[in-house]
Amino acid sequence: MTWWQRLWKRRQAEAHLDAELRDHLERLVADNIAQGMSRADALRDAQLAFGGLDQVKEECRDARGTRWVHDLAFDVRFAGRTMGRDPGFTAVVVVSLALGIGVCSMAFSITDAYFFRGLPVDHPSRMFHVATVDGHGTEQGVSLPDYLDWRAALPDVDMAAFQTRQVLVGQEGSAADRVSGAHVSADVFRLLGVGAATGRVFSGEDELAGRTDVALIGHRLWAERYAGDVSLPGQTILVDGVPTVVLGVMPQDFGFPSREEIWLPFAAHRGPGALDRSNRSLAVLARIRADQSTDAVRSAWRAAAANLARAYPTTNAGIDVRVTRFGEHQVGRLTNSPALMLPLMAGIVLLIACANVANLLLARAGTRTRELAIRASVGATRGRIIRQLLAESLLLATLGGLAGFALARLAVDAVATRFFVGYVPYWMTFGVSGRSLAAVAGICVVSTILCGLAPAVRASRPGTAAATRIGVRSVMAVRRDPWRARLVAIQFALAVVLLGGASLLASSYAALLRADSAIDVSRFTTMRIELPEETYATSDRRMAFYRRLEADIASMPGVEAVAFASVAPFLGAASKRTTIRGIGAAGDTTLMAGAVTISPAYFDTLEMTLLRGHDFDATEARSGLDVAIINQLLADRFFGGEDPIGRQIRLDSSTDANATSQPPGPAEEPDWLTVIGIAPTIRQAAPGGPRPLIYLPQGSAPAASAQLLIRMPTVSAGTIADIRRRVATIDDDVVVVNVRPLADTLKNSRLQPQLMATVLGSLGLIALFLSTVGLYAVTSHGVRQRTAEIGLRLALGGRPGQVVWLFVRQGMAPIAAGLLVGLTGAFMVGRLLRGLLIGTSATDPTTLAALALLLTAVTAAACVVPATRSAHVDPASTLRQD
């Protein structure tokens, strides 16, 4: 029989063994009888000569070499039964492992996709983004002449240039869409190894022929605007009003460099200023070869830039080169990003989960010492006991790991579709990465096995196990494991840190939602109106157009109100250095504030009621008299508790926060404005929190483009087309772009804070769940183990209250230590999170205190409940109990 046959045909092997040995004995007996013994003597002699039958059989089974498999199967079955006997323990361990593994690999996978994956090419780490840096350290693009000189100077480096811009895509007889596009050289497609899905990409020949009238269309634009028309390649569309031939449609998951939807030839962007070295508008993609080191390429590049700086000092003096990994250039470095919180926090959850498992296994090890000692004393070897415990640990780890994997997949899918897909560069792909899953599962499994084996090590210590545990009942001698207290303290500290961070983010997100509730966004649609500068050169002409359009739209059926603003809510605001004129001896105050120009009906349209003062009246609004309305935040923070109405403020012309370093401006001082009203605070520039904001009448500085805000409860494609038509009726050179429900803008602006609050909030809840369950399980287990001690104390005259108090005191000691460490950590995390917090201070003592109280209460309950239960049972029975 082969090894496999011996393993599978175990019954047959046993039958053969039995038959063979019986045959031997029968022959022996027959020979003995033949020599003249009586049957009884012959039998006895044969048995003596043969030896113990069962022992021989055992030795033959050992010789089969399949024994360990049967033992393993037995161990696993036994482990299953052990787990079934204590389902609470099993559930806590498996759930802890599943949550730890699931959450951690979710966080690692998302971080990996966002920060480390890079372009979908064979070696993403060899793709670089190259930009220039001026003497102030400000990053700039690359000029075309510099790029051409670089190509000549660095023949070993493969490079391609591109430039993104907004493109109007249309057709004869239908309104244009504004989409993100890029001018790319044909090299881009070669470097990325990408071809068209239908049709073809730009070729070198197109470039040499200087063709500018061709375009490539992205998959989404093709599907949405052209209804997936397969005959599109070869047809002519309008790009910025110019007839252009579509060469091809790109594959679905292509959007280089980020989420672009149309690609135009590199030559098409070469306007008159293209050959100017100071016109730095290009970006450069470079691929280095496997045998080139990044540092060598970087220094060669910097040397080339230095040569250009010497050759063309007027334009290139002080211009250096910055070579960054492509993905890193787009999303930044993980270590500089608030997203670093994600893997860090998930790591803490993993630690809590591991501590839970370790603690529970160690706690159980205490109760199993006796069981293992009995096994050892009836002949189980140390190896056999270790194998049995290993099987139990492996079974737990396998169950936890499988559940964790399923959880990770669900979580990655949920988070990616909710927060990333559609908002991030095309090259980010989300899925559970095998690497991170393996690493996380490895940590959990190893910790489970290590802790699971602890009792085996203890049981096999000479003397202690077999001798003391079996016959002699120890009452006071239940050794307390110092590691259990330490693990409880560590776990408690970690939970406080994580919950501290999560609750800060949650309350910050709540503050954000409160700030946004000032406007009922569901009823607003916004769009940007762009006037051609040549026709609308003066303020009067612009204002005349805006007034006419406003009246026209207001008369449309279904439109409740219309207003203009330089920027719609949530979309940002020009940042201005602002001075508040001091009264009397008090000096002026300077601050940075956003500035928005609005038309008279703005606050009425948004249904915002001014908190104080009055709105711009018609004259103020049109003529741009020296008046301003400020938001409540500015009023509360910078007027020192005094009434801002009637006070004077001034907007300095520079929008640069570092303007102080510049020489004082010429005599043309901006005018002082009088504050006439205070508006509720909204988040003008989202993402981000509410900031000081100043509203100015539109008439004071009407720009050539403005945002139109329309309040209408129901919006249809027909209404939008009607608006476009009305605009075109007044002047068909005016462009309408970015037609968008205000609710969408708000939703986008909330994504990042919502992501952080949701993910870290759920991590916090998981940590809270794990640590409370873990603390309770471990603490109450520890108390139950000492039931006999409680009985003894009571029998010796201790009062129940005293005994319970003793246990609470002992159980709470590690909590005090953990609390101290945890609060320190939470304060530090709060400082890290400061940039993400809105309307919440980085160290929110109420939240932390509440958390500390909750965890303390849980632990106290875990001590009190089992101790009280034991203390109220008859001491005699607890003492007798095993």
Binding site: A19, E20, L21, H24, F50, L53, D62, A63
Partner: protein
Amino acid sequence: MTRTKSDLPQGTLDLLILQIAALGPIHGYAIAQRIRQVSSEVLQVQQGSLYPALHRLENRGLLLADWKPSDTGRDAKFYRLSARGRAQLKLETAQWELLTRAVGAILRNPEGSLS
């Protein structure tokens, strides 16, 4: 945990079994009898301890086994040498001879020198 209760040096029982099985298919009882006979009853082998050794040799592929009708009329398990077993027997016999010669030389020479 195999302990042969004979006074045989380690591994000697295996060598004896291989040697006996080399003569042709033979069942366990006959092997035990043969060991006793050829060693003039000097070698004391607890008969039961023969079987773990037989099974080990079988599992190592040195012996092959077949169930065949025997003289008693019942089927018995007959062992015979495999090709690998034959090679192993040659190797071990050579080693054994080398060892006994060396030990004999030492015992004959009280200084314990082989030269």
